[in-house]
């Protein structure tokens, strides 16, 4: 037994690899010819909660569905969610769907569409039970029901009461268990996955979406997927910012593909920042760190929250704390004048930290190399959730004009879509719910559509032309600019100029920077010119998506001259319902970003000031 322990001598293991196999398994490079056309009733782009729920629903109804994803399904970023998924199950105490409804409307700063919110909160309990029946290992109450915990913004009695136990949970791995269980069900029902396929474009013909093109990362080569129905579920776009809780894969692909197909995006100015991201990376430290009594400290050693929320101090809502941190940083009181402050847990003592905050400690140690028992943890606001996205109706049909006209054949769900249930600000634990409910609803609507027996449209000759052009351009690019450097400039500036605090000057500057980067992007080069597993190619194409999407975020932020929810303009610090109780629709055009608006759907709760 012992002879195998301690693994190998370093560097000696090459003989255990089988590079020969690789050649046999994977065929010769295929360049960028179209050599594969696949036909499926439906194609789902993305395998997070939204994508897999949609695919499963379609497959269960007996249709042939393909799920395309650039990372293996269980590597999607839904798996990173820790806290929980909201539903008024009332497993431990009184709770009502109506209370959840109210909290979500209020949380959205009254910009959420109330018809969509009502549907979502009503479907919430059923979707949780469905997850349980699929096998999700939820934590349990003493009497064997699904365990629920508190989460910011979820309270009793239409905002008047105490916090309520509403977040269904599996320890601190809620997203992980939901994602893995959905994948297991997809395996069971034999959903056809195309893993590590990077979708490059939507195929639109006569105002109808009839398929997508994708790059096969492993083998190289462009594939055309012909379908009667296409669902976009590509997730968030936190990678527009340098400091983010999002995965490297969250690069706004779905949004810019939609824009390239002529679609508008809705409410892109609303990006939620979480106050406790590990400095440098933005990795999320849970609310618990503040909840258990952690202090926030500036360079002078002060608990600076006394200036911003003297009563609640560190326990003030996320956006208030994020803004307080940023005020300190802008005033030069970040640690050593840098863009971070300290989260100090030391006074809690080793025992309490180990017992109550093991996860926070582990994250700080593993990812920042800091043990909170001995040292304060450097933290900064981190881009966390993107409220805006591809406009859809409540059946998840993508709206070509952003208002009512469906782009036939196209649906969107999850973080890339804007229904809108989160309005100007998402409540914690509502986004896993959104992705699940709308993933399922999109799947259902696709099934309804397919049951009317639409025909496969004839693929145009040049269906893959834009995709081929893009890949060929990047593969042969030999300009002076490096994609990684352009991306860094974009992300760092987005964080400081279009972050927690915005004003006209900053945003105009940011817009100029993006325009300049877009020019420079035309002159990039990449260092990997192969066709097999070319991640440099992929990163370069993703950068194109980030640049286009960031442009719309900035333009929308510049356009909205008020402060609401997560969008805070220091030059317009008040919410302005008279002029701005409406959704932004933004089109990216050759002549810049064009705007239109649509009214917020208000059914039950009239706008009031959002106070906590």
């Amino acid at each position: 037994m012992s002879e195998y322990r301690g693994m190998f001598k370093v560097g000696e293991c090459a003989k255990y690899y089988n590079t020969e196999d690789a050649k046999v398994v994977h065929e010769e490079p295929k360049g960028v010819d179209i050599h594969n056309v696949h036909v499926h009733d439906a194609v789902v782009v993305g395998a997070g909660l939204a994508g897999m729920f949609a695919a499963l629903e379609i497959k269960k109804a007996g249709y042939d569905v393909a799920c395309l994803t650039k990372v293996f399904p269980t590597r999607s970023h839904s798996g990173a969610a820790q806290g929980g998924i909201a539903a008024a199950l009332a497993n431990l105490e009184e709770d009502h769907v109506e209370w959840h409804f109210f909290d979500t409307v209020k949380g959205s700063d009254y910009l959420g569409d109330q018809d969509a919110i009502e549907l979502m909160v009503k479907e919430a309990p059923r979707i949780i039970y469905e997850y349980e029946h699929m096998g999700v290992p939820f934590s349990r109450t003493p009497d064997g029901k699904i365990m629920q915990r508190y989460f910011g913004g979820h309270v009793k009695d239409f905002g008047r009461g105490k916090p309520v136990l509403r977040a269904c949970m599996a320890a601190d791995r809620t997203g992980h268990v939901l994602l893995h269980t959905l994948w297991e069900q997809c395996v069971k029902h034999q959903v056809r996955f195309y893993s590590e396929f990077f979708v490059l474009s939507l195929i639109i013909k006569d105002g109808k979406c009839i398929g997508v093109t994708a790059w096969d990362l492993i083998n190289g080569g462009i594939h055309v997927f012909q379908a009667k129905a296409v669902v976009l579920a590509t997730g968030g776009y936190g990678r527009c910012f340098s400091i983010t809780t999002n995965s490297h894969a969250n690069t706004a692909d779905g949004l810019s593909l939609a824009m390239r197909a002529g679609l508008p995006l809705e409410d892109m100015e609303f990006v939620q920042f979480h106050p406790t991201g590990l400095a440098g990376s933005g990795i999320l430290l849970s609310e618990g760190a503040r909840g258990e009594g952690g202090y926030l400290i500036n360079d002078l050693g002060e608990r600076f929250m006394k200036r911003y929320a003297p009563d609640k101090m560190e326990l003030a809502p996320r956006d208030v704390v994020s803004r307080a941190e940023w005020s300190e940083i802008e005033a030069g009181r970040g640690i050593g004048g840098q863009q971070y402050v300290y989260l100090d847990l030391r006074h809690l003592g080793a025992e309490k930290i180990k017992e109550r905050l093991p996860q926070v400690r582990e994250l700080a140690m593993k990812f920042a190399g800091v043990d909170p028992i001995e040292e304060p943890v450097p933290i900064q606001p981190t881009a966390h959730y993107s409220m805006g996205g591809i406009p859809t109706d409540i059946r998840c049909r993508v709206l070509a004009d952003g208002k009512e006209k469906w782009l036939e054949g196209l649906w969107a769900a999850g973080e890339c879509a804007c229904v809108s249930v989160h309005g100007a600000n998402r409540l914690g634990t509502n986004s896993l719910l959104d992705a699940s409910v709308h993933g399922k609803r999109a799947g259902k609507d696709v099934v309804a559509y397919l049951s009317t027996n639409p025909v496969f449209e004839v693929l145009p000759e040049d269906a893959a032309e834009p995709a081929i052009k893009e890949v060929e351009w990047v593969l042969n690019s030999n300009g002076p600019e490096r994609p990684a450097e352009l991306r860094k400039i974009l992300q760092e500036n987005m964080y400081t100029l279009c972050g927690v605090f915005r004003d006209q000057e900053k945003l105009e500057k940011m817009y100029e920077i993006i325009k300049d980067l877009q020019k420079r992007y035309k002159n990039i080069h990449i260092e990997d010119r192969g066709t097999k597993f070319n991640t440099h190619l992929m990163e370069a194409i993703e950068l194109g998506h980030l640049l286009e999407t960031a442009e719309v975020i900035v333009a929308s932020a510049l356009n909205r001259t008020e402060s609401r929810g997560a969008h805070y303009r220091t030059d317009y610090p008040k919410r302005d319902d008279d002029n701005w109780l409406k959704h932004t629709l933004a089109w990216r055009t050759e002549e810049g970003v064009k705007f239109d608006y649509k009214p917020v759907v208000i059914t039950r709760f009239k706008p009031e000031e959002r106070k906590y």
């Binding site: 037994m1 195998y4 322990r5 693994m7 190998f8 370093v10 560097g11 293991c13 090459a14 255990y16 690899y17 089988n18 590079t19 196999d21 690789a22 990372v71 293996f72 269980t74 590597r75 999607s76 970023h77 798996g79 990173a80 059923r126 039970y129 349980e132 029946h133 699929m134 096998g135 290992p137 934590s139 349990r140 109450t141 009497d143 064997g144 699904i146 599996a170 297991e184 069900q185 395996v187 069971k188 492993i218 995965s247 440098g280 990376s281 990795i283 990812f367 920042a368 190399g369 800091v370 990684a484 450097e485 860094k488 990997d528 192969g530 097999k532 597993f533 070319n534 991640t535 440099h536």
Partner: protein, 235 residues
Amino acid sequence: MAEYTFRIFRYDPEKDETGRIQEYRFEPEPGWTVLDALNYIKWNLDGSLTYRRACRHGICGSCGMTINGKNGLACETQLKDLGTTVVTIEPLRGFPVIKDLVVDMEPFYDKLYAIKPYLITKTPPPTDKERLQSPEDRKKLDGKYECILCGCCTSSCPTYWADKNFLGPNALLKAARFLFDSRDEGFEERVNAIDDKHGIWRCHTIFNCVEACPKELNPTQAIVDLRKLMLRGRL
């Protein structure tokens, strides 16, 4: 920090006959992980370096690799914890290499599919309610359900190197996650796959997999528990 030497396994299927080690030298910043170092190389020194990554905080399971001879997640491994400034990074062994640090995980996933990795039930669930499960029964899943499918365990298993049909620690752990779930009724359907010469009886309980698992799970214990369950089931 001091200057580090990164010795990284490179293999380009379109150019190379076989793998080679390439060296990069630079001074990393304090607090950097192995993934930060790889990103630094890719974004500043050599854009062709190829590896998988996504979440960068130890939950997606993309970045399993062999770091100074030990399997682990690049994103969770602090450089300063390696105790040396010479860092050798290689792809997970036991799987075919696609390119540089990227391996073909299909053989690994295939083993998972073999054990029917999903809850199997026959009794219909209650309508509009959850099935009940006591906290004690739920506790039996702890240490099993947290797996992130990174492959570090199966890649470290000598039995797997010798027998590519061996299900491996990961698939067996996953089987245990279902077989010990009070809600599961799939014993008969799963048993054939695991109660086999390529299944639980093949493992030599060498514990390599336990040492390799970045999530501190214990596939060996799961295998031992499964054996007990099989013996009981057979009676």
